[in-house]
Protein backbone atom coordinates (compact mmCIF):
# COMPACT_ATOMS: atom_id res chain seq x y z
CA UNK A 1 0.00 0.00 0.00
CA UNK A 2 1.37 3.40 -0.94
CA UNK A 3 0.92 6.85 0.57
CA UNK A 4 -1.91 9.10 -0.58
CA UNK A 5 -1.16 12.72 -1.41
CA UNK A 6 -3.82 15.38 -1.79
CA UNK A 7 -3.22 18.95 -2.90
CA UNK A 8 -6.02 21.27 -1.81
CA UNK A 9 -7.24 24.62 -3.03
CA UNK A 10 -4.92 26.53 -5.32
CA UNK A 11 -2.28 23.81 -4.95
CA UNK A 12 -4.51 21.38 -6.81
CA UNK A 13 -3.55 23.12 -10.05
CA UNK A 14 0.04 21.98 -9.49
CA UNK A 15 -1.08 18.37 -9.95
CA UNK A 16 -3.41 19.09 -12.85
CA UNK A 17 -6.47 18.84 -10.62
CA UNK A 18 -5.80 15.26 -9.57
CA UNK A 19 -7.57 14.55 -6.30
CA UNK A 20 -5.69 11.67 -4.72
CA UNK A 21 -2.23 10.69 -5.88
CA UNK A 22 -0.61 7.44 -4.77
CA UNK A 23 3.14 7.56 -4.14
CA UNK A 24 5.62 4.94 -2.99
CA UNK A 25 8.31 6.67 -0.98
CA UNK A 26 10.08 6.42 2.36
CA UNK A 27 9.72 10.08 3.34
CA UNK A 28 7.94 13.22 2.21
CA UNK A 29 10.87 14.77 0.35
CA UNK A 30 11.38 11.61 -1.66
CA UNK A 31 7.66 11.50 -2.42
CA UNK A 32 7.63 15.08 -3.67
CA UNK A 33 10.68 14.41 -5.84
CA UNK A 34 8.87 11.43 -7.36
CA UNK A 35 5.79 13.57 -7.96
CA UNK A 36 7.96 16.15 -9.68
CA UNK A 37 8.60 13.56 -12.37
CA UNK A 38 4.90 13.56 -13.23
CA UNK A 39 4.08 17.17 -12.44
CA UNK A 40 6.66 19.51 -13.86
CA UNK A 41 7.38 22.57 -11.74
CA UNK A 42 5.87 21.10 -8.60
CA UNK A 43 8.94 21.33 -6.40
CA UNK A 44 9.75 24.92 -7.25
CA UNK A 45 6.21 25.96 -6.24
CA UNK A 46 6.38 24.08 -2.95
CA UNK A 47 9.98 24.55 -1.89
CA UNK A 48 12.22 27.57 -1.56
CA UNK A 49 15.69 27.79 -3.09
CA UNK A 50 17.07 26.47 0.18
CA UNK A 51 14.89 23.38 -0.12
CA UNK A 52 12.47 24.14 2.70
CA UNK A 53 8.71 24.33 2.36
CA UNK A 54 7.46 27.80 1.43
CA UNK A 55 6.08 29.48 4.55
CA UNK A 56 2.66 30.06 2.99
CA UNK A 57 2.30 26.30 2.46
CA UNK A 58 1.73 23.64 5.08
CA UNK A 59 2.05 19.90 4.83
CA UNK A 60 0.16 17.54 7.12
CA UNK A 61 0.74 13.85 7.61
CA UNK A 62 -2.44 12.20 8.84
CA UNK A 63 -3.68 15.66 9.92
CA UNK A 64 -0.49 16.45 11.87
CA UNK A 65 1.79 19.29 10.79
CA UNK A 66 5.09 17.83 9.61
CA UNK A 67 6.88 20.72 11.33
CA UNK A 68 6.12 18.85 14.54
CA UNK A 69 7.77 15.78 13.07
CA UNK A 70 10.86 15.70 10.85
CA UNK A 71 9.64 18.17 8.23
CA UNK A 72 10.43 16.87 4.76
CA UNK A 73 12.36 13.95 6.24
CA UNK A 74 9.21 12.72 7.97
CA UNK A 75 8.95 9.00 7.34
CA UNK A 76 5.99 7.62 5.43
CA UNK A 77 4.24 4.36 6.04
CA UNK A 78 1.82 2.51 3.79
CA UNK A 79 -1.67 3.92 4.18
CA UNK A 80 -0.52 7.35 5.32
CA UNK A 81 -2.31 10.40 3.98
CA UNK A 82 -0.45 13.61 3.20
CA UNK A 83 -2.39 16.85 2.77
CA UNK A 84 -0.93 20.06 1.36
CA UNK A 85 -2.63 23.43 1.80
CA UNK A 86 -1.78 26.99 0.96
CA UNK A 87 -2.72 30.31 2.50
CA UNK A 88 -5.68 31.94 0.76
CA UNK A 89 -7.14 35.35 1.43
CA UNK A 90 -10.38 35.66 -0.49
CA UNK A 91 -13.44 36.88 1.32
Amino acid sequence: MSTQFEFLGPLKALVNGDEIIEVDATNIREALEKLQESYDGLLSRLLSDSGTVHRHINIFLNEEDIQLKDNLQTALSPGDKVTLISAIAGG
Binding site: L8, G9, H54, F60, E63, A87, I88, A89, G90, G91
Partner: protein, 290 residues
Protein backbone atom coordinates in the same frame (compact mmCIF):
# COMPACT_ATOMS: atom_id res chain seq x y z
CA UNK B 1 -43.50 38.54 36.51
CA UNK B 2 -45.82 36.56 38.74
CA UNK B 3 -48.02 33.97 37.03
CA UNK B 4 -45.81 34.29 33.98
CA UNK B 5 -44.43 31.16 32.35
CA UNK B 6 -41.35 33.17 31.47
CA UNK B 7 -38.24 33.55 33.57
CA UNK B 8 -36.90 36.85 32.33
CA UNK B 9 -38.62 40.17 31.93
CA UNK B 10 -38.88 40.36 28.17
CA UNK B 11 -41.85 41.00 25.89
CA UNK B 12 -43.61 38.08 24.26
CA UNK B 13 -42.12 39.14 20.92
CA UNK B 14 -38.65 38.47 22.34
CA UNK B 15 -39.65 34.95 23.36
CA UNK B 16 -41.24 34.42 19.99
CA UNK B 17 -38.28 35.69 17.97
CA UNK B 18 -35.78 33.55 19.80
CA UNK B 19 -38.06 30.60 20.58
CA UNK B 20 -35.91 28.05 18.71
CA UNK B 21 -32.81 29.20 20.57
CA UNK B 22 -34.54 29.29 23.92
CA UNK B 23 -35.76 25.73 23.39
CA UNK B 24 -32.23 24.48 22.80
CA UNK B 25 -30.56 22.57 25.59
CA UNK B 26 -27.67 24.65 26.80
CA UNK B 27 -29.01 27.97 25.55
CA UNK B 28 -32.40 28.82 27.04
CA UNK B 29 -33.45 32.30 28.05
CA UNK B 30 -30.22 33.01 29.89
CA UNK B 31 -28.12 31.98 26.93
CA UNK B 32 -30.11 34.23 24.67
CA UNK B 33 -29.59 37.06 27.12
CA UNK B 34 -25.86 36.33 27.02
CA UNK B 35 -25.88 36.72 23.25
CA UNK B 36 -27.77 39.96 23.65
CA UNK B 37 -25.07 41.23 25.98
CA UNK B 38 -22.32 40.29 23.53
CA UNK B 39 -20.66 42.07 20.66
CA UNK B 40 -18.95 41.05 17.43
CA UNK B 41 -16.86 43.09 15.03
CA UNK B 42 -17.02 41.90 11.45
CA UNK B 43 -14.13 42.93 9.20
CA UNK B 44 -15.63 43.05 5.72
CA UNK B 45 -19.24 43.13 4.57
CA UNK B 46 -18.66 41.10 1.42
CA UNK B 47 -18.81 37.41 0.59
CA UNK B 48 -17.93 36.05 4.03
CA UNK B 49 -19.31 39.02 5.91
CA UNK B 50 -22.75 38.69 4.37
CA UNK B 51 -23.78 35.30 5.75
CA UNK B 52 -21.89 35.93 8.98
CA UNK B 53 -23.69 39.23 9.55
CA UNK B 54 -27.07 37.79 8.63
CA UNK B 55 -26.80 34.91 11.09
CA UNK B 56 -25.25 36.95 13.88
CA UNK B 57 -28.02 39.50 13.53
CA UNK B 58 -30.78 36.93 13.31
CA UNK B 59 -29.31 35.21 16.37
CA UNK B 60 -29.68 38.38 18.40
CA UNK B 61 -26.10 39.35 19.14
CA UNK B 62 -26.45 42.61 21.02
CA UNK B 63 -24.00 44.72 19.09
CA UNK B 64 -22.55 44.08 15.66
CA UNK B 65 -19.81 46.24 14.14
CA UNK B 66 -19.35 46.27 10.37
CA UNK B 67 -16.09 47.54 8.91
CA UNK B 68 -15.92 48.01 5.14
CA UNK B 69 -14.87 51.01 3.08
CA UNK B 70 -16.08 49.60 -0.23
CA UNK B 71 -19.22 50.21 -2.28
CA UNK B 72 -21.53 47.61 -3.79
CA UNK B 73 -20.73 46.53 -7.35
CA UNK B 74 -22.78 44.42 -9.73
CA UNK B 75 -20.14 41.68 -9.66
CA UNK B 76 -20.50 41.43 -5.86
CA UNK B 77 -24.09 40.25 -6.04
CA UNK B 78 -23.26 36.68 -7.08
CA UNK B 79 -22.21 35.99 -3.48
CA UNK B 80 -22.55 39.06 -1.25
CA UNK B 81 -26.11 38.40 -0.19
CA UNK B 82 -26.42 41.35 2.14
CA UNK B 83 -26.77 43.55 -0.90
CA UNK B 84 -29.25 43.86 -3.76
CA UNK B 85 -29.30 45.31 -7.22
CA UNK B 86 -30.69 48.61 -6.04
CA UNK B 87 -27.74 48.93 -3.63
CA UNK B 88 -25.14 49.20 -6.39
CA UNK B 89 -22.96 52.21 -5.72
CA UNK B 90 -23.92 52.45 -2.04
CA UNK B 91 -21.50 51.87 0.77
CA UNK B 92 -21.65 48.19 1.69
CA UNK B 93 -22.11 48.98 5.35
CA UNK B 94 -25.12 51.19 4.58
CA UNK B 95 -26.68 48.51 2.43
CA UNK B 96 -25.89 45.96 5.13
CA UNK B 97 -27.53 48.01 7.87
CA UNK B 98 -30.77 48.23 5.89
CA UNK B 99 -30.83 44.49 5.30
CA UNK B 100 -29.87 43.57 8.84
CA UNK B 101 -32.24 46.03 10.46
CA UNK B 102 -35.09 44.44 8.57
CA UNK B 103 -34.08 41.01 9.88
CA UNK B 104 -33.66 42.08 13.48
CA UNK B 105 -34.18 45.72 14.51
CA UNK B 106 -33.08 44.96 18.07
CA UNK B 107 -29.43 44.53 17.15
CA UNK B 108 -27.27 47.60 17.68
CA UNK B 109 -25.40 48.03 14.39
CA UNK B 110 -22.28 50.17 14.14
CA UNK B 111 -20.48 50.93 10.91
CA UNK B 112 -16.89 51.83 10.10
CA UNK B 113 -16.23 53.15 6.61
CA UNK B 114 -12.55 53.86 6.89
CA UNK B 115 -10.16 51.26 5.51
CA UNK B 116 -8.89 49.07 8.34
CA UNK B 117 -5.25 49.87 9.02
CA UNK B 118 -2.65 49.91 11.76
CA UNK B 119 -3.73 53.35 12.93
CA UNK B 120 -7.43 52.69 13.43
CA UNK B 121 -7.86 48.99 14.12
CA UNK B 122 -7.04 48.98 17.83
CA UNK B 123 -9.65 51.56 18.70
CA UNK B 124 -12.13 49.95 16.31
CA UNK B 125 -11.91 46.52 17.90
CA UNK B 126 -11.33 47.24 21.56
CA UNK B 127 -15.03 47.36 22.48
CA UNK B 128 -15.92 44.02 20.92
CA UNK B 129 -15.89 40.54 22.40
CA UNK B 130 -15.07 38.65 19.22
CA UNK B 131 -13.60 39.60 15.85
CA UNK B 132 -14.73 37.84 12.67
CA UNK B 133 -12.37 38.24 9.74
CA UNK B 134 -14.16 38.42 6.42
CA UNK B 135 -11.55 40.52 4.67
CA UNK B 136 -10.27 39.78 1.20
CA UNK B 137 -6.53 40.41 1.24
CA UNK B 138 -3.43 39.22 3.05
CA UNK B 139 -2.29 42.53 4.57
CA UNK B 140 -5.62 42.98 6.36
CA UNK B 141 -5.70 39.35 7.45
CA UNK B 142 -2.24 39.52 8.98
CA UNK B 143 -3.01 42.87 10.59
CA UNK B 144 -6.23 41.55 12.11
CA UNK B 145 -4.45 38.43 13.37
CA UNK B 146 -1.56 40.34 14.85
CA UNK B 147 -3.77 42.86 16.63
CA UNK B 148 -6.05 40.14 17.97
CA UNK B 149 -3.04 38.31 19.39
CA UNK B 150 -1.73 41.48 20.96
CA UNK B 151 -5.13 42.40 22.39
CA UNK B 152 -5.97 38.83 23.42
CA UNK B 153 -9.13 39.10 21.36
CA UNK B 154 -10.71 35.90 19.98
CA UNK B 155 -10.58 35.79 16.19
CA UNK B 156 -12.77 33.72 13.90
CA UNK B 157 -10.82 33.25 10.68
CA UNK B 158 -12.31 32.35 7.33
CA UNK B 159 -10.98 32.55 3.80
CA UNK B 160 -12.08 31.34 0.38
CA UNK B 161 -10.82 30.93 -3.15
CA UNK B 162 -12.53 29.25 -6.07
CA UNK B 163 -14.29 26.16 -4.61
CA UNK B 164 -12.15 26.09 -1.50
CA UNK B 165 -12.50 27.48 1.99
CA UNK B 166 -10.75 27.47 5.35
CA UNK B 167 -12.14 28.27 8.78
CA UNK B 168 -10.80 28.17 12.32
CA UNK B 169 -10.99 30.05 15.61
CA UNK B 170 -7.98 31.55 17.28
CA UNK B 171 -9.14 31.79 20.89
CA UNK B 172 -5.88 33.40 22.11
CA UNK B 173 -5.69 30.86 24.91
CA UNK B 174 -2.21 29.85 26.05
CA UNK B 175 -2.49 26.65 24.04
CA UNK B 176 -3.94 28.09 20.85
CA UNK B 177 -1.82 29.11 17.89
CA UNK B 178 -2.43 32.08 15.64
CA UNK B 179 -2.65 32.60 11.89
CA UNK B 180 1.08 33.24 11.69
CA UNK B 181 1.77 29.90 13.39
CA UNK B 182 -0.03 28.33 10.45
CA UNK B 183 1.22 30.60 7.68
CA UNK B 184 4.05 32.84 8.95
CA UNK B 185 4.06 34.99 5.83
CA UNK B 186 1.82 35.63 2.85
CA UNK B 187 2.59 34.04 -0.50
CA UNK B 188 4.57 35.92 -3.09
CA UNK B 189 2.25 37.73 -5.50
CA UNK B 190 2.75 35.14 -8.24
CA UNK B 191 1.63 32.40 -5.81
CA UNK B 192 -1.35 34.30 -4.46
CA UNK B 193 -4.22 34.42 -6.90
CA UNK B 194 -7.04 36.65 -5.74
CA UNK B 195 -10.75 35.96 -6.19
CA UNK B 196 -10.68 38.61 -8.92
CA UNK B 197 -8.06 36.61 -10.79
CA UNK B 198 -9.05 33.06 -9.90
CA UNK B 199 -12.78 33.36 -9.32
CA UNK B 200 -14.97 32.26 -6.45
CA UNK B 201 -17.87 29.84 -6.48
CA UNK B 202 -20.28 32.19 -4.73
CA UNK B 203 -21.89 29.73 -2.35
CA UNK B 204 -18.46 28.86 -0.94
CA UNK B 205 -18.51 32.20 0.85
CA UNK B 206 -21.94 31.29 2.21
CA UNK B 207 -20.65 28.02 3.65
CA UNK B 208 -17.52 29.45 5.22
CA UNK B 209 -19.18 32.68 6.40
CA UNK B 210 -21.95 30.67 8.03
CA UNK B 211 -19.37 28.50 9.78
CA UNK B 212 -17.71 31.68 11.02
CA UNK B 213 -21.02 32.87 12.45
CA UNK B 214 -21.48 29.48 14.12
CA UNK B 215 -18.01 29.73 15.64
CA UNK B 216 -18.65 33.25 16.93
CA UNK B 217 -21.98 32.30 18.49
CA UNK B 218 -20.54 29.14 20.02
CA UNK B 219 -17.65 31.11 21.44
CA UNK B 220 -19.92 33.78 22.91
CA UNK B 221 -22.17 31.20 24.51
CA UNK B 222 -19.33 29.03 25.77
CA UNK B 223 -17.50 31.92 27.39
CA UNK B 224 -20.68 32.90 29.22
CA UNK B 225 -21.08 29.44 30.67
CA UNK B 226 -23.42 27.98 28.07
CA UNK B 227 -21.45 25.07 26.67
CA UNK B 228 -23.18 24.52 23.37
CA UNK B 229 -20.34 23.15 21.31
CA UNK B 230 -16.69 22.58 20.66
CA UNK B 231 -14.77 25.32 18.92
CA UNK B 232 -12.36 24.88 16.05
CA UNK B 233 -9.49 25.69 18.40
CA UNK B 234 -6.21 24.43 16.96
CA UNK B 235 -8.21 22.79 14.20
CA UNK B 236 -8.44 24.08 10.64
CA UNK B 237 -11.56 23.01 8.83
CA UNK B 238 -11.13 22.83 5.09
CA UNK B 239 -14.02 22.79 2.65
CA UNK B 240 -13.46 21.59 -0.89
CA UNK B 241 -16.53 22.27 -2.98
CA UNK B 242 -15.00 20.52 -5.97
CA UNK B 243 -15.35 17.27 -4.02
CA UNK B 244 -18.18 18.29 -1.68
CA UNK B 245 -15.92 17.35 1.19
CA UNK B 246 -14.73 18.65 4.52
CA UNK B 247 -11.35 17.85 5.98
CA UNK B 248 -9.63 18.88 9.15
CA UNK B 249 -6.01 19.31 10.12
CA UNK B 250 -4.51 20.01 13.52
CA UNK B 251 -2.94 23.36 14.26
CA UNK B 252 -0.54 24.12 17.05
CA UNK B 253 1.00 27.06 18.82
CA UNK B 254 4.47 27.62 17.45
CA UNK B 255 6.76 28.73 20.27
CA UNK B 256 8.93 30.48 17.68
CA UNK B 257 6.02 32.39 16.15
CA UNK B 258 7.01 36.00 15.53
CA UNK B 259 3.68 37.19 16.89
CA UNK B 260 2.10 34.95 19.54
CA UNK B 261 5.48 33.53 20.50
CA UNK B 262 6.99 36.91 21.28
CA UNK B 263 6.11 38.99 24.32
CA UNK B 264 7.66 42.02 22.65
CA UNK B 265 5.67 41.88 19.44
CA UNK B 266 4.01 45.15 18.44
CA UNK B 267 1.87 45.33 15.31
CA UNK B 268 2.63 49.04 15.04
CA UNK B 269 6.17 48.12 14.00
CA UNK B 270 5.01 45.93 11.12
CA UNK B 271 4.40 47.11 7.58
CA UNK B 272 1.19 45.75 6.10
CA UNK B 273 1.65 46.58 2.45
CA UNK B 274 -0.77 46.25 -0.42
CA UNK B 275 0.58 46.40 -3.93
CA UNK B 276 -1.73 46.73 -6.93
CA UNK B 277 -4.13 43.78 -7.02
CA UNK B 278 -1.82 41.50 -5.14
CA UNK B 279 -0.73 41.82 -1.59
CA UNK B 280 2.37 41.39 0.43
CA UNK B 281 2.91 41.38 4.11
CA UNK B 282 6.29 42.43 5.27
CA UNK B 283 7.85 41.83 8.62
CA UNK B 284 10.95 43.99 8.91
CA UNK B 285 13.71 42.25 10.82
CA UNK B 286 13.48 44.91 13.49
CA UNK B 287 9.73 44.48 13.87
CA UNK B 288 10.13 42.11 16.75
CA UNK B 289 12.36 43.33 19.49
CA UNK B 290 14.52 40.90 21.43
Amino acid sequence: MSNSPFNVDKPIEWYNRYARHITLDGVGEEGQLALEASSVLLIGAGGLGSPAALYLTAAGVGRLGLADFDTVSLNNLQRQILHGTSDIGRLKVDSAVDTLHEINPDVNLRTYTEKVNSDNIWKMMEDYDVIVDGSDNFPTRYLVNDVCVQAGKPLVFGAVLQFFGQVTTFTQSDECGCYRCLFPVAPDPENAPTCVEAGIFGVTTGIIGSLQAAQALTLLLNRNGFEVGKLLENRLQIYDGSESSFREVKLYRNPDCLVCGSKDFDFRKVEYVEQCSVNQVLIPKNAVAG
